[in-house]
């Protein structure tokens, strides 16, 4: 599904942040990437999703065998790469539901499916809303406008559930969530686990991993994967901290 080989990247005109990341994620797998502040977690998410402002200086990323880095951000999205934002962006005046439907139809078109009509769409929406315990009023508001932190994160997972990506990258989706919201979000993520889908969770803390149990855990430190292991690695980190992995902030 995703093959990252010796990836080096920097902030445009700035210092190098990723210094040779290697990572392979197979369909059906859930990977957790953990690491201290400044270790390059968000840069990795940005580079994979095509966020402007980063420059890849070396290495390769293959997504389903294709050169991911050669694709524009919207192309990647339509091909099934989804990024759940750490800080979801507000778009005033644009109805959340309208936005979602536009996105869904763009993705469906790429898959060779027809546009969803209003009825089908509403039905699909209601099913997912229930799963995440999101009120329908959220749909009628502007995209992320006036949402609480928890609502924003839940909205990201809701969008993910609707768009059904092949590769979902969750950038600190658990940060700022209270325990109830964390459980709801986790339920949403777990519902999306499946043999054809890969999920990469970027997180500081182990607590999300209690609810979404990963197949693999990686420690990103100093711009490289410093250690990889099973789910027990997360527990170990909780005990020892990131200090053992070098240049922790």
């Amino acid at each position: 599904m995703l093959e990252i080989k010796n990836l080096h990247a920097r902030i445009s005109e700035g210092r190098e942040i990723l210094k040779g990341v290697d990572l392979t994620v197979k369909p059906g797998e859930v990977h957790a990437i953990m690491g201290p502040n400044g270790s390059g977690k968000s840069t990795l998410a940005g580079v994979l999703s095509g966020k402007p402002g980063y420059e890849v200086t070396e290495g390769q990323v293959l997504f389903q065998g294709r050169d991911l880095l050669a694709m524009a951000a919207d192309e990647r999205a339509r091909d099934g790469v989804f990024l759940a934002f750490q800080y979801p962006v507000e778009i005033p005046g644009v109805n959340n539901m309208y936005f979602l439907r536009a996105a869904l139809n763009a993705v469906r078109k790429q898959r060779g499916e027809s546009d969803m009509d209003a009825g089908q769409f509403l039905k699909a929406v209601r099913a997912k809303l229930k799963l995440l315990e999101i009120g329908e009023d959220l749909l009628q508001r502007g995209v992320n406008v006036g949402f609480s932190g928890g609502e924003k994160k839940r909205n990201e997972i809701f969008q993910m559930a609707m768009l059904e990506p092949k590769l979902a990258i969750l950038d600190e989706t658990d940060s700022g969530l209270d325990i109830d919201a964390l459980q709801m979000v986790s339920r949403g993520i777990n519902a999306l686990r499946g043999p054809k889908r890969a999920i990469v969770m970027i997180t500081h803390y182990q607590r999300l991993l209690n609810y979404v149990v990963p197949d693999r855990v990686h420690v990103l430190s100093g711009g490289r994967i410093a250690k990889s292991g099973g789910k027990e690695l997360a527990l170990e980190l909780e005990q020892t901290g990131y200090g053992a992995y070098g240049d922790a902030a």
Binding site: D74, A103, L163
Partner: protein
């Protein structure tokens, strides 16, 4: 041209009209230049009564003493008014005969805007009688309106058929000498529209939707007069979202609205004239005077405009709130891209007690466009408890454009309450990336964000217009993000 020459021209024309003569009239136009004789020629051509000729001449004599306004934040190349032609019958020689002869780029735009097929040809300037069968439709509508006592016709027809109404209201809101361009229009106006809604009648349809094509040829000095009698209601749509063929560079229109006691007029405009090319060459100069008077208690006038075209827009649709409890509204979206300039806004003049006004202005600048909101809120001494709320938002796309806000507030009554809010924002890279990360193309993302920004104004437009306007915003901003 001398008086005799004008008189000489008059005779054959009258005969021609009598016998339904049409073919020769096409080649007849006034010689370039502007003087008393030009005015007489135009008036004679239109077979106007003496009072209207006198009115035009009066306007012309005032105009001669006036200077082109220079206070707007606009760069305007000098205009040689003596070089222009002020009367020209529609030319047919150069018009395309079918859609096959029309510029494919123009057709592509129509398609993007979702303009119905049968209208595209007419908009592109294909000889209307060859393709368009709206005449029968128009007749049906006219009958419905007639049964309600609603008068809706060309200005010329109104002068002939309803001279008393025209005489009573013409120039009563925008006097001949109001400003340079209004004076010019009053002297040389070509044609336009007239509507009168009798007391207590609610006009059952959006006026002008059905004839938007036919009205497209009203010319560069258009004159519109709408009168809503006591308790009447009318919604009027001006313009068209499709770019129109137009060889005139200077457009100086005048629109006058009169709302009597308890009447309501809703006036919506979508202006999409040729903005000039990406290098700033060509494009229409759109210098328009629009004003409405709420002449009775509880009258309401609401302007909604979407301005995306023209190289230069100079336009301030205004409300004079004379009647107690009368209401004025102004909702505006103005886009400037490439080298376009817009200086637009409104004037709300509060004269009556408890008068209220709302101003919502959304300016969008892209490319090297310059966009200025200029507005005046004046509360006169007798306007006790007057209220105004103004909101001016500017959106910048790129870093070579400009947005300016120039609000004037003059409150001469201590009970007045005037609120003004202004914001300026840029479309952020984060917003664009968020949309793109959800699968939307750059163009769709931009269109979505811009439409969200304009939502409060777009929702004031009649449904059908709003859909086209949304698409138009997207088309106008094409190529503005890298």
């Amino acid at each position: 041209m001398t008086d005799t020459a004008a008189a000489h021209n008059l005779a054959p024309l009258r005969e021609g009209y009598k016998y339904g003569f049409v073919s020769d009239i096409e080649s007849e136009s006034a010689p370039p230049g502007l003087n008393d004789d030009t005015i007489r020629f135009i008036s004679a051509k239109k077979q106007e009564p003496q009072w209207l000729l006198d009115w035009r001449l009066q306007a012309f004599h005032q105009w001669q003493k006036m200077d082109s306004p220079h206070w707007a934040k606009l760069r305007i190349a000098p205009i040689d008014y003596q070089a222009a032609t002020y009367y020209s019958a529609p030319k047919r020689q150069n018009t395309p005969k079918s859609l096959d002869e029309v510029d494919p780029e123009l057709l592509k735009t129509y398609e993007k805007l979702g303009i119905p097929l049968n209208e595209r040809a007419a908009l592109a300037g294909v000889a209307v009688d060859a393709v368009f069968d709206s005449v029968s439709v128009a007749t049906t509508f006219k009958k419905t309106l007639g049964e309600l006592g609603i008068i809706f016709c060309s200005f010329g027809e109104a002068v002939r058929e309803h001279p008393d109404l025209v005489r009573k209201y013409l120039g009563s809101v925008v006097p001949q000498g109001d400003n340079f361009f209004a004076a010019l229009n009053s002297a040389v106006f070509s044609d336009g529209s007239f509507a009168y809604i009798p007391a207590g009648v609610r006009c059952p349809m959006e006026l002008s939707t059905y004839f938007r094509i036919n009205a497209a040829k009203s010319g560069q000095f258009e004159r519109t007069l709408l009168v809503a009698d006591k308790g009447a209601y009318v919604s009027y749509l001006e313009g068209c979202t499709a770019p129109q063929r137009d060889e005139n560079q200077l457009h100086a229109a005048v629109v006058e609205l009169v709302a009597l006691e308890g009447a309501e007029i809703k006036y919506s405009t979508v202006q999409n004239w040729y903005p000039g090319d990406a290098e700033g060459k060509g494009g229409i100069y759109n210098f328009v005077t629009k004003r409405g008077a709420c002449r009775g208690a509880r009258a309401k006038i609401s302007w909604t405009q979407v301005e995306t075209g023209s190289a230069i827009t100079w336009k301030y649709p205004s409300c004079i709130l004379e009647g107690d409890d009368s209401v004025g509204e102004f909702y505006s979206v103005a886009i400037t891209n490439n080298f376009q300039q817009a200086d637009t806004g409104t004037k709300m003049i509060h004269l009556g007690r408890n008068t209220r006004s709302t101003i919502i202005s959304k300016g969008i600048s892209a490319g090297k466009g310059q966009n200025t909101y200029r507005g005046l809120v004046r509360i006169q001494p007798k306007a006790a408890n007057a209220r105004n709320y103004t909101q001016c938002d500017s959106l910048l796309i790129g870093d070579k454009c400009g947005a300016h806000t120039v609000p004037y507030i003059a409150a001469r009554n201590p009970t007045a309450r005037v609120e003004h809010e202004a914001t300026t924002s840029k479309i952020s890279d984060e917003q664009m990336f968020y949309c793109q990360q959800r699968g939307l193309s750059k163009e769709d993302a931009l269109s979505l964000i811009v439409n969200g920004f304009c939502k409060e104004v777009l929702k004031e437009l009649p449904m059908e217009f709003a859909v086209e306007a949304q698409k138009l915003l997207a088309v106008s901003l094409e190529g503005s993000v890298g």
